[in-house]
């Protein structure tokens, strides 16, 4: 009987690259319960409940349509403004929500982590799943508008690139988690990041072709910077699938994956390094 017991070894300076994935799997029940808690607890004592996650992006889309479409008159081709902005926002919001959740993973759960052990990666992982539910709501809303515009004969040409949507969502998740882990790990030492993050993520949104098509950026330097941002490829690919306009640059898609995976891997390792003793400094 004793032989079947798991053996835990606690040792100083455990290697930063060693991540116990088996253990994370063992804690999957906790992961799902945290997801469930985050999905239900936020809506307690609200009237609209999860509808807020539909209303917020809808209002943003309307604001964008009025300001950038009708007033600033940014040229987005034949695509209806509403569809143009919303297709970008759906993906951006998923990414941004995961990023924000991940960034606060350690600091906002420090009182819990000071009292009990569980694989710390569970918290950022739970964000990915929780936000997936919100993404689904947004996506369904978007599709409803899309189908309506399509039936009105707006200049939309859906094509086979649409099959890439699941992969794009996956990439958003990896990216959001990667950047989130980086920020989370650094927030332990520099609390300033907590204040800077909302501002940074807003800047980042404008650096992503959400209110304008990537094809409007022609200066070579700006173009390089634009495509170095992995969200550019995601938004452009998705939008091309829905509208058939502005085909994304293939090398840009490749680059976005390189950036995504690099950030994710380094983020996971950095997080793993920091989480071992972070309760001592928080």
């Amino acid at each position: 009987m004793t032989d079947t017991m798991p053996i835990t070894i606690i040792r100083a300076n455990s290697p930063w690259w060693k991540i116990n994935f088996h253990e994370i799997f063992e804690y999957r029940d906790l992961l799902m319960l945290i997801v469930k808690r985050d999905l239900t607890a936020v809506y307690k004592q609200t009237i609209l409940g999860p509808l807020w996650f539909v209303i917020q992006p809808l209002i943003t889309t309307i604001v964008f349509t009025v300001i950038f479409g009708n007033i600033a008159k940014i040229d987005v081709g034949d695509t209806p403004h509403f569809i143009f902005y919303m297709s970008g926002l759906v993906f951006w919001n998923y990414f941004n929500n995961i990023l924000n959740h991940g960034a606060n993973a350690l600091v906002s759960n420090s009182s819990l982590m000071r009292k009990v052990y569980f694989p710390r990666l569970i918290i950022p992982l739970s964000g990915v799943i929780t936000q997936l539910a919100h993404l689904a709501l947004n996506f369904v809303t978007f599709i409803a508008f899309y189908v309506w515009y399509l039936s009105q004969g707006a200049g939309l040409e859906p094509n086979k690139w649409l099959f890439l949507i699941p992969i794009l969502i996956f990439q958003c998740a990896l990216m959001g988690m990667g950047f989130g882990l980086w920020i989370s790990s650094m927030t332990i030492k520099y609390r300033d990041l907590r204040f800077a993050l909302p501002f940074l993520s807003q800047l980042w949104m404008y650096a992503t072709p959400i209110v304008y098509p990537a094809s409007l950026v022609v200066t070579p330097l700006y173009k390089k910077i634009l495509w170095l941002n992995p969200m550019t490829a995601v938004v452009e690919t998705a939008r091309y699938g829905f509208t058939g306009q502005h085909k994304p640059i293939l090398s840009g898609i490749g680059l976005s994956w390189v950036v995504t995976l690099t950030v994710l891997l380094s983020g996971v390792m950095l997080f793993n390094r920091v989480q071992r003793t972070f309760v001592d400094t928080v």
């Binding site: 606690i10 040792r11 808690r37 239900t40 819990l112 030492k189």
Partner: protein
């Protein structure tokens, strides 16, 4: 075959005192800037919370755990005893994997459940039922295991009626009972418990203790930290005593460990205060002596008498030049078994000492000494602007002679140490007498 459940080798944990590093990006940039210009940042920036004292290391370190070694066989209950700051909590934290040790290793055979707090992860908006599952999985159970035990847990807690109510509507007693019920039904091979038993009413505590010894009879191993000697005595098969991060006794016989710990306290208290070295705090000023005085005759005395006026005079000597502002003196009064009875402090009585320097003394006078006959241990603390300057545990043993506190000729009904409180009783008129 191998029945060692827990083996700890050379375990050590180091902390840095004072401010760690530079907390904001601005400070970091300043640090970088100074370094870039070839200046010593430590000199130019000063350290937050650490008075400038060139003789001291800028980042003083201390070992909260220092070379701890022990082995625990399956089914044994090890009690860990130690004063404040002895390293008990750190030991539990390291063994619960909340933080990593600085040196050494620990090998644990079997699943570990650690209870460093009751109700970890309880979310006020969720119902009792949801929280039971949440808390159970956080403590390392599978969802299915919680489901199997759910009825048992709820029955143990006695909050059946409210199980589908959000816990924010619970009374604090219900909350704790439910939380403990989950913890009590954990079935890890090794249980790590930190004084959580000190919650709830006496009845519930008894229930919990019963549950603990039941758990132990099942052959599970328990590591238990407590201040309560009686609990340790009734529960533990062996005990170890920690002092300043080092294991100074055991693990060995519980009785011996307890008497070792208590004698240690007394031995400390017998050392003259000025020559005590086991102080904590920044040490710009030291407390050098405590005197018992009779304020009526203005003379020193050897002991106090319950119900009579009493003065404690604390002498201090400044060690390092500088301003020591807004000073608070604190006196913890404890029983021999370490239970805290009361705290005296000049802040509590709204007295401000704006500054002290050089040598001097302060006095604390009680019009009626409220403690009953017996012996008490005193801890002394001196803070300046809420920063700990000097702290001495078990600074002295205070002897108290029984006296007429209530002015009725009656003393304290038991022979134990305790606090006497002035009181008024009143009987409601019975129907007969009003008639």
């Amino acid at each position: 075959m191998n029945d060692i459940a827990l083996s700890v080798k050379n375990l050590g944990k180091r902390y840095q005192l004072g401010a760690i590093g530079r907390h904001t990006l601005g400070e970091e940039i300043k640090h970088f800037w100074l370094k870039f210009h070839g200046k010593d940042p430590k000199e130019h920036m000063g350290q937050v919370g650490h008075p400038s004292d060139p003789s001291k290391n800028i980042h003083p370190e201390f070992w909260a755990l220092d070379h701890i070694n022990f082995e625990l066989k399956q089914g044994e209950i090890l009690g860990v005893i130690g004063g404040n700051g002895a390293g008990k909590s750190t030991l539990l934290k390291v063994l619960s994997r909340i933080t990593e040790p600085t040196t050494g290793e620990a090998k644990i055979r079997g699943r570990v459940g650690s209870l460093l707090e009751v109700g970890t992860g309880f979310h006020p908006e969720l119902t009792g039922r949801e929280n039971v599952f949440m808390n159970g999985t956080l403590l390392g159970m599978k969802r299915k295991e919680v489901a199997n035990k759910f009825d048992e847990i709820v029955a143990f807690s006695g909050v059946e009626k409210f199980i589908d109510t959000p816990v924010k509507r619970y009374s604090s007693g219900m909350y704790i009972r439910l939380a403990f019920a989950v913890a009590a039904h954990l079935e890890p091979e090794i249980l790590i418990v930190d004084e959580v038993l000190a919650v709830g009413d006496a009845n519930f505590q008894k229930k919990c203790l019963g549950k603990m010894s039941e758990v132990a009879k099942d052959g599970r191993t328990i590591l238990f930290v407590s201040h309560n000697m009686a609990t340790l005595q009734s529960l533990c098969t062996q005990c170890m005593v920690l002092q300043k991060g080092k294991c100074v006794f055991g693990p060995g016989n519980t009785e011996e460990a307890i008497s070792f710990y208590l004698s240690q306290n007394r031995k400390n208290a017998a050392t003259p205060l000025a020559s005590r070295t086991d102080r904590k705090g920044y040490g710009r000023v030291h407390m050098t002596d405590v005197e018992l005085r009779d304020p009526v005759n203005n003379t020193t005395c050897t002991h106090f008498i319950s119900g009579r006026p009493a003065t404690l005079r604390i002498y201090y000597t400044q060690q390092i030049a500088g301003e020591i502002l807004d000073v608070e003196f604190k006196i913890d009064i404890r029983t021999k078994a370490s239970a805290l009875l009361s705290v005296l402090s000049n802040h509590m009585s709204q007295t401000i000492f704006p500054e002290i320097h050089g040598r001097g003394y302060v006095e604390c006078t009680l019009d009626k000494w409220p403690f009953a006959e017996g012996h008490y241990l005193l801890n002394l603390k001196l803070e300046s602007q809420t920063l700990l300057e000097d702290s001495i545990e078990d600074a002295l043993i205070l002897e108290v002679e029984g006296g007429d506190f209530y002015g009725t000729g009656r003393g304290f009904p038991t022979k134990n140490e305790g606090v006497m409180v002035a009181q008024t009783w009143h009987q409601a008129p019975t129907p007969e007498s009003t008639a």
